[in-house]
Each structure stands twice: as structure tokens, then as C-alpha cells.
């Protein structure tokens, strides 16, 4: 694609040089709790500031300090920001994993490593850059206590030199990271980065083919993680009651929300909070509070992960059966049980759809990017109140906890929609109301909020049998009427969920369907199929459950449709199987990945290629 300025000092094992400008991946192997997060963010941000599409993925253990952690940065001139399995450039800081990390590299990769590890003895087909980190850190950081922290910044400097990352951008990124208040820390880190840069400049002759070159593909964009984006969405959706219980990977969603609400949702005059955020004692309590608040008219939410959702099961059934709005963020991690709390999966799709005993169905929204975390959050709150039901916003650890490049968020166009709430005046005019009567044919009754000052406003909410006046009943007909109304309501939702994103290739005989973070891999996979196999593939990304007619049409127009699932049991496919006609089901194929890492395009491509017999 372009010529390299630096030619390797020695030819490595006959590997053809790959085009490697703005199109490679870096992996930093370290231990958690060692402060590498700062160095990694700064690295990613510096590249981003150079206008180059970039993505970062943190693979960290479920403990606090001392265990192996890997951070990968992918630069992609072509804009692919999904995970890529192959590592081109390794920064080996962790003695425990260094050997295995190096052995797994493809030939021609480059390695920056802590000199005492002597990794260059392991292979001869790699580019090695040994760095004496301890020696370099001592002069720039006189205080020994802080050295461990600052040490990592050295590799940022080394990489800047080897990969042609502009040191100015590193500096800017550092300032951004530490803000004005921590100028001292920023300086310390900057010195470390400089030391690394200077050392590399003085020591290394570049032999590898990887480097960056300024582009203009990130102008105006932001970097944000999905959890913070969800938090912003919730705030701009007007959330008022937030209840939660800490659990990875959802914790930072509420923690960012706290920060933003403190800044933007206190009354400017009184200084009082126009919201309440409550850390509950567990998930039974957090969902109970959210349901109670939703019932009383708040826009309420909670955020959790799989184990929390399991605990919420009884209450969410109540919300369904008693028509109570609430938004539940499920930031999925690897299940079942405690599973791998710091790995990603789309493993709760099927069980959430039918959560709780008895006949239930719950709508789910599937954002795939920070932008959608924001916009679909706003839609979800409206949807919950419009349809008076618990709504899941399904993200995952990959989206929620990793930093993503994103277009800035658009201010919501539509005003907040609070659904069918009758005021005292309304009741006065109507002379009364029946809480669960399907007046409008959409399965949604009118409700009043507690505190409404009209003698006909009150009704009694219960999870036991109720007729359309919300009165207790055990009658067969009342029960069936109510359950049929709820089923009908779910059908009506199909007309109101966000529509899928569709990329039809007119010549395509196959199609792919996915949700959420599978998007990046699937889009890249479509290109791989086209470029490498000459196969045209259409693609539909669903934003919501229940499914709409679009999906059926999509299946109809293709011979085979690959449903991509980040779980073992093909859960998204399962939801389709539950409701589609056999002729549509006959066309469905399953692509599943469930290893806990963000999905990469090659895995999808290989699977499709295998099943297609290409």
C-alpha cells in the first residue's frame, strides 16, 4: 500500500513484509494494579489525536493487583476497530507471561521488552527492542515509591520513537489524562516518556515495518467507554432514580453517572439533587427500588451483570405482569454463575428475553457503539414508560469497559415521552379509569401516579391476578384477558422498537445477522468475504428485541443467514427459532464464539467460509 521508509536490518525468515502503516496492532502485557492503564490510554489517545482510527481493548483479570493483564491497541487506516487476533507489536512487561506471549507471535512481529527478561533468545524471526526499564526510571523518578507507577510510561516513549507517534500528541494526551489538577503527576510521567523516547532514539535502529502516519479520520470524534456513554444517555433521558449494586462490568456505568449527575443534575438555585442514586444492599433490593420508583412515576434504572439479573428475576416478572416501567442495563460478562467476571460475552440474551417464571417476554435494546449507548438509552427510557414494562439495555464488557472512538453524541431531538399518565384533571374529565383496560388497542392501559389528588385516581397494584380495574381476581376469563393483553402489547412493541441497520448487497446469496459488539467483527468479515473469497454478503444489525418484519424480510431474501452469537448456545438464533416460521428457520445458520474475548472478524469469516464450503 505504501513504501516503508525504514528497511529491516536483517531479513526475517522469508516473511513478506506486510503493509504496516496505520494498520497493525500493539499488545502491552503487564500485571494489573501496576498503573499501566495510564500509559496505555495515553498511547491510544496519542494515536487517535494523530487522526488515525484506533481501538483499545483491556484484558484484565478478576482481582485487584498482581495478575497478568493485556492491553491491545489496533490502528486501522481502513477504520476496522474490532479486535484483531494477531499481535504485530508486543510490549512485554510481565515476566510471568512473557515467554508465552512471545511464542504466540507471528513471524515478523516486533517486541519491546524489559531487558532482564532476555526474550531475544527465544526466537530469531522477530524484531527485538530490549529496554532497561529500571535503569531508565530511577533518574526521572527520584521517589522509589512511585517508580512502579511511572515506569510504564517509558514504553510509551519507546513506542513513540519506534512507531513514529508524535511526542507532542503524547504530551497532549498526558495532559488530558491528568487534567490541570495533577500537573505534578503529568510531569513525572512526561519525563518518563521522554526518557523512553531518548533511549530508543539513541539505541535502536528500526527493523520492523510498523508505524503510524498522520491521517484525518478522527477529527471531531471522542473517546469514551460504553458505560460512560450509557450513563450520559440515562442522564439525558432524564433518569431520576438510579439504584444499583456494584458488579463488574457494570460498576463504572453507575460510577460515571454519579459524576455526571453531580455536575449536571443539581438544581442551580437550591443546589439540591434532581435525582436519587442509591447503592442498594443487593440486586433484589436494587431492582425492587427501581420497580417501586417506576411505579411511582420516576424514570428509574438499575445496572448490573448476569448474576444480578438472575437475582432480579422475580421482580422483573412482577414488572412485566403489573405493567411497571424500569430500565435495566445488563452489561454482560462471561457466565454461567460467577463465570469470568472480566471477560465479555452475549450470554444473557435468551434468559433475559423470558426472565422469570410463568409466561413473560421482555424487550431488549442492543447498542453496538457508544453513540448508540447514548441514543438507545434515551429510547429505552421512553419505551419503558410508553409500554409500562421493564426494558433491558444489553451491552457487554467489551463495549462497556473499553475505550472507543466515537462520533460525538447528538442532542436528543424528541422531547421526553412519559407515556400514558392521567392527571387529576384528566380523571376529572373522564370520570374515572380502568388501569389495565386496553382503551387504545395497543395493550397499554392508562395509569395514575400515587399522590394524584382525585378520588378516582387510586388503584391497587399487585403481582397476583387482577382484572382490568386492577382488582383482585382469580377468574379464568380475567386472567386470560390480561395475559392476552400483555401478549398483544408485546406484538405492538414490534412497531416501535428501533429499526435494524441493514446493508444489503444486491448480489448476496448469504446474509449475516448480529447484535451489539459483534458489529465490528461482522462488518470486517463481510469485507474479508468480499476481498478474500469474492463472496457478497448482506448484513443486518438488530438494535432490539422483539424482532421486526425487517428481519423476516432479510431472511427471506437470502439463501442462508448466519446469526452471529457471542455465546455457546446460539441464543440470538434461539430467539428467532422461538417465533419464526419453519421456512425461515431452515435458512438460519449459527456462528458462535464464546471464549470471552471481544469477537474478531477472522473467527466469523472462518466459520462462514467453513459452513459455506468455500
Amino acid at each position: 500500500m505504501s513504501t516503508l521508509e525504514v528497511s529491516p536490518a536483517e531479513r526475517l525468515s522469508g516473511q513478506p513484509e506486510r503493509p504496516a502503516i496505520n494498520e497493525f496492532s500493539i499488545q502491552v502485557a503487564t500485571v494489573n494494579g501496576s498503573g499501566s492503564q495510564t500509559a496505555n490510554s495515553v498511547l491510544m489517545r496519542a494515536i487517535f489525536q494523530m487522526g488515525i482510527p484506533v481501538s483499545g481493548k483491556n484484558m484484565f483479570p478478576s482481582n485487584i493487583a498482581g495478575l497478568p493483564t493485556w492491553f491491545t491497541i489496533r490502528t486501522s487506516a481502513r477504520g476496522y476497530i474490532g479486535r484483531r487476533k494477531e499481535v504485530d507489536f508486543l510490549v512485554a512487561m510481565n515476566p510471568e507471561t512473557a515467554r508465552e506471549d512471545v511464542m504466540q507471535l507471528g513471524a515478523g512481529a516486533a517486541v519491546v521488552y524489559d531487558e532482564p527478561l532476555k526474550l531475544d533468545a527465544l526466537r530469531s524471526d522477530l524484531h527485538f527492542y530490549p529496554v532497561p526499564f529500571d535503569k531508565l526510571v530511577a533518574p526521572v523518578c527520584p521517589e522509589p515509591r512511585l517508580r512502579k507507577l511511572v515506569r510504564n510510561m517509558i514504553y510509551d516513549g519507546v513506542l513513540a520513537r519506534i512507531l513514529s507517534i508524535e511526542m507532542d500528541e503524547v504530551h497532549k494526551a498526558l495532559e488530558k489524562q491528568f487534567g490541570k489538577k495533577k500537573a505534578k503527576a503529568a510531569e513525572l510521567n512526561w519525563n518518563a516518556a521522554r526518557a523512553g523516547y531518548d533511549f530508543a532514539a539513541a539505541t535502536f535502529t528500526k527493523t520492523d515495518p510498523f508505524r503510524v502516519e498522520r491521517m484525518n479520520a478522527t477529527a471531531g470524534k471522542i473517546i469514551i467507554d460504553g458505560n460512560a456513554a450509557c450513563a450520559l444517555g440515562a442522564m439525558f433521558a432524564g433518569v431520576t432514580v438510579v439504584t444499583w449494586y456494584p458488579i463488574t462490568p457494570s460498576t463504572s456505568l453507575v460510577e460515571s453517572l454519579m459524576g455526571y449527575m453531580r455536575r449536571f443534575r443539581h438544581d442551580p438555585e437550591s443546589g439540591k439533587a434532581n435525582y436519587a442514586i442509591v447503592q442498594a444492599e443487593d440486586e433484589l433490593a436494587s431492582i425492587g427500588m427501581a420497580i417501586g420508583a417506576g411505579w411511582a412515576g420516576a424514570r428509574s434504572m438499575t445496572a448490573t451483570a448476569g448474576p444480578g439479573v438472575s437475582l432480579m428475576s422475580e421482580f422483573i416478572g412482577l414488572g412485566y405482569y403489573a405493567d411497571i416501567p424500569a430500565v435495566i442495563y445488563d452489561v454482560e460478562r462471561v457466565g454461567p454463575s460467577t463465570g469470568l467476571p472480566t471477560r465479555t460475552q452475549q450470554g444473557d440474551i435468551l434468559s433475559n428475553a423470558i426472565l422469570s417464571h410463568g409466561d413473560t417476554r421482555h424487550p431488549m435494546f442492543f447498542p453496538s457503539s457508544p453513540e448508540e449507548c447514548f441514543s438507545l438509552s434515551i429510547e429505552a427510557f421512553d419505551f419503558a414508560e410508553k409500554f409500562q414494562t421493564p426494558v433491558f439495555v444489553m451491552t457487554d464488557l467489551d463495549l462497556g469497559m473499553n475505550n472507543w472512538m466515537s462520533d460525538p453524541f447528538a442532542y436528543p431531538e424528541k422531547p421526553i415521552a412519559r407515556g400514558k399518565v392521567l392527571t387529576a384533571e384528566d380523571i376529572g374529565k373522564l370520570g374515572g379509569f380502568a388501569r389495565y383496560r386496553d382503551v387504545d388497542g395497543d395493550g397499554v392501559g392508562y395509569r395514575t401516579l400515587p399522590g394524584t389528588r382525585h378520588p378516582a385516581a387510586a388503584y391497587f397494584t399487585r403481582g397476583s391476578g387482577h382484572n382490568d380495574k386492577a382488582q383482585y381476581t382469580e377468574r379464568e376469563d380475567d386472567y386470560i384477558n390480561n395475559m392476552d393483553r400483555l401478549a398483544h402489547k408485546f406484538e405492538v412493541m414490534r412497531q416501535h422498537v428501533p429499526e435494524p441497520v441493514t446493508a444489503i448487497r444486491e448480489d448476496a446469496r448469504i446474509g449475516l445477522v448480529a447484535v451489539g459488539t459483534s458489529d465490528y467483527a461482522v462488518r470486517e468479515c463481510c469485507d474479508q468475504l468480499r476481498d478474500e473469497y469474492g463472496v457478497a454478503a448482506s448484513y443486518m444489525r438488530l438494535k432490539a428485541y422483539p424482532f421486526t418484519e425487517h428481519l423476516k424480510d432479510f431472511i427471506r431474501r437470502h439463501e442462508r443467514v448466519y446469526v452471529v452469537d457471542q455465546n455457546r448456545d446460539g441464543q440470538l438464533l434461539g430467539l428467532m427459532r422461538l417465533e419464526f416460521d419453519a421456512e425461515l428457520i431452515a435458512k438460519l445458520r449459527s456462528v458462535r464464539y464464546y471464549g470471552g474475548l471481544p469477537l474478531d472478524a477472522r473467527t466469523v469469516t472462518d466459520e462462514v467460509v467453513g459452513q459455506e464450503g468455500l
Binding site: T240, V278, E281, A285, G292, A298, L449, G451, R453, F460
Partner: protein, 319 residues
């Protein structure tokens, strides 16, 4: 010349306006007596029922909110988790007067965790435990408040010590704690009225009344005990309850002496009734949260959605 005026309270409402639908509990069940007291108290104090929200869990006691204050919204939730629902609702609308009614099974068995955390938060909620020592609705298993040695219909004795919800509430943050007996109309009224006046936790002592198939019809047990004295009450099932009423010199503002009074009574196999504790200084959870005075539920969009400028500011920071 005017027709005889109907009796009304200060809001111009009749006692009728404070009733609910017809009870489906057993005749003679103490829960009904408490419902009646609730009706009377809210009526007599002239509380606007449309400003009250009723909460309950699951059980016979938890059904009772349907049988009083029909003009109030009510939420009969899931078993043992009423505190969470009430908390959420009161956060959504802090102007509501919250009235929770549950059973001993609902609160002390499945619900002890939520109860304790509710108390710890000092949520402004009137919390009435209709304590009969058993699970009425599932036909009479022991709850965690059953006295040691008390017997089921089948003869099986209870071997485990009871949780004293009053002591728990006292120890972990409740600001009003009282106990009465469902048959002591006067005391119960006085206590409910005080609670209404300031928000409180309460526990009403009652009698186990469950039967296996045939449910006998009982008259209400009624009793009046002078201050400072002890009375032994015979229950419908023949068991006996020793009630001691706090005397007039008892100081309900001292938490530690309240706790020891409870310990003392426990040792003497007595049940202490009266207002055990009052604390008027402690901030509620709503105050701790520094919440706006208006109900969150009905804030206008201008207070819910930050401005475009705010979004811009945030986007800028993230660039």
C-alpha cells in the same frame, strides 16, 4: 331544618372514605383489627388519603392494604421485599406518606435483610409488622418471630430464638419504634397516630390463628391494660401472651435504655408494649441524599434533561 350532617373530619371526608374493599381475611383475625385502627387513625387525624401510598409484601397481613384507605394507591409486591419497593416509590415522590404493612414471615424470615437495610437508611416510612408468629397464608409454619417452645397445630415445637424486630429497628437506626397488641384498641390507636404524625417503625403483636382446613370463627380479642401493668392474654388457640405496658416514667428518647428494657422483658417472658423509642433529630435518607423538595416523578423536562450546552461541554472533554 338541614338534614343531619354526616360526620366528617377536617378535610370534610367521612370515615367511609378511609375504608377499603371488604376483607377476605378470617373473621377474628387480628390483622382486621389493625386495619380498623388504621382507618380510624387516618380519618381522625384528617390525613389526605390521596397523599398516602400503601405497600406490602405477600401474606395475609400483606393483603390487608386492600382493605383500608381505598383512595390511596397501593402496591402489593413480592414476598419479603416490600422495603425496596417502598424505598423506590418514596424516592420517586418524597411528598407521599408511605405506609407499609407486612407480616412477621414477610419481614423477619425472608425479609430480614431488606428490613435491616431499610432501617439503616432511615427511610421515612410507617412500617407495621402484623406479627402472629406464623405464616398465616401458607397455613401456619413458624416464622422467625415465633417464640421458643410455641407449638404448631401438628404439635411441632419451635426451637429457635425469635428475632425481635423492635430491637433490630432500635439498634440500627429507626427513629420511632413502638409495639402494641392488636386487641388493645386505645394503645394501638395512640401509637398509629403518633407514627402518622412522624413516620415510624412499629410491630403489632398478635395471635396465631391458623387452622388446617376448617377455620373457626373467632370474636376479636379485646383488652385494655393500664400503664406500667402486666396482663396475660389468652389467644384463640389457647396459648398465652404476657403483655407489659410501658409506664409513664419511661423515657423513650434514650436508645440504650430502650434496648435494655427489651432485653429485660425478654428475660421475663413478657412482651413490652408502648412507644419504645423516639428520635426527632436524625436526618432521613431523603435528607442525606440532599434531594429536591419536589417529587422527582413529576419534575418538568427542563429539570430532567441537561441543556445542549452541557452535552457540548461533555463532548469537548472527551475529544
Amino acid at each position: 331544618m338541614t338534614p343531619q350532617a354526616k360526620k366528617v373530619n377536617r378535610l370534610g371526608l367521612e370515615v367511609l372514605n378511609y375504608r377499603g374493599s371488604k376483607t377476605t381475611l378470617c373473621a377474628g383475625c387480628g390483622h382486621n383489627a389493625i386495619s380498623e385502627r388504621i382507618v380510624e387513625c387516618f380519618y381522625e387525624l384528617g390525613v389526605d388519603p390521596m397523599g398516602v401510598a400503601k405497600f406490602s409484601g405477600i401474606g395475609c397481613s400483606s393483603k390487608s392494604p386492600a382493605y383500608f384507605l381505598g383512595l390511596s394507591h397501593g402496591f402489593n409486591g413480592v414476598h419479603g421485599r416490600m422495603p425496596a419497593i417502598a424505598t423506590g416509590a418514596l424516592l420517586a415522590n418524597r411528598t407521599l406518606m408511605g405506609l407499609g404493612v407486612t407480616g412477621d414471615g414477610d419481614t423477619a424470615s425472608i425479609g430480614i435483610g431488606q428490613f435491616m437495610h431499610l432501617v439503616r437508611r432511615n427511610m421515612p416510612l410507617i412500617y407495621i409488622i402484623e406479627d402472629n408468629g406464623v405464616y398465616g397464608l401458607t397455613k401456619g409454619q413458624f416464622s422467625a418471630t415465633a417464640d421458643v417452645g410455641s407449638k404448631l397445630k401438628t404439635g411441632a415445637p419451635n426451637d429457635l430464638p425469635p428475632f425481635d424486630c423492635c430491637a433490630l429497628a432500635l439498634k440500627w437506626g429507626a427513629t420511632f419504634v413502638a409495639r402494641s397488641f392488636s386487641g388493645d384498641k386505645k394503645q394501638l390507636q395512640a401509637i398509629i397516630k403518633t407514627a402518622i404524625a412522624r413516620g415510624a417503625y412499629m410491630k403489632e403483636h398478635e395471635e396465631p390463628l391458623q387452622e388446617l382446613d376448617f377455620v373457626p370463627f373467632f370474636e376479636d380479642i379485646s383488652v385494655e391494660i393500664p400503664e406500667g401493668e402486666v396482663r396475660e392474654i389468652e389467644m384463640h388457640d389457647g396459648s398465652r401472651l404476657r403483655l407489659r405496658k410501658l409506664d409513664r416514667y419511661y423515657d423513650p428518647t434514650d436508645r440504650l435504655s430502650a434496648l435494655s428494657a427489651l432485653e429485660e422483658a425478654e428475660k421475663n417472658h413478657e412482651v413490652l408494649t408502648g412507644v419504645l423509642y423516639v428520635n426527632t433529630a436524625k436526618p432521613t435518607f431523603l435528607e442525606v441524599l440532599n434531594m429536591a423538595e419536589e417529587p422527582l416523578a413529576t419534575l418538568p423536562e427542563s429539570k430532567l434533561r441537561p441543556s445542549p450546552a452541557a452535552l457540548n461541554e461533555i463532548m469537548e472533554e472527551l475529544r
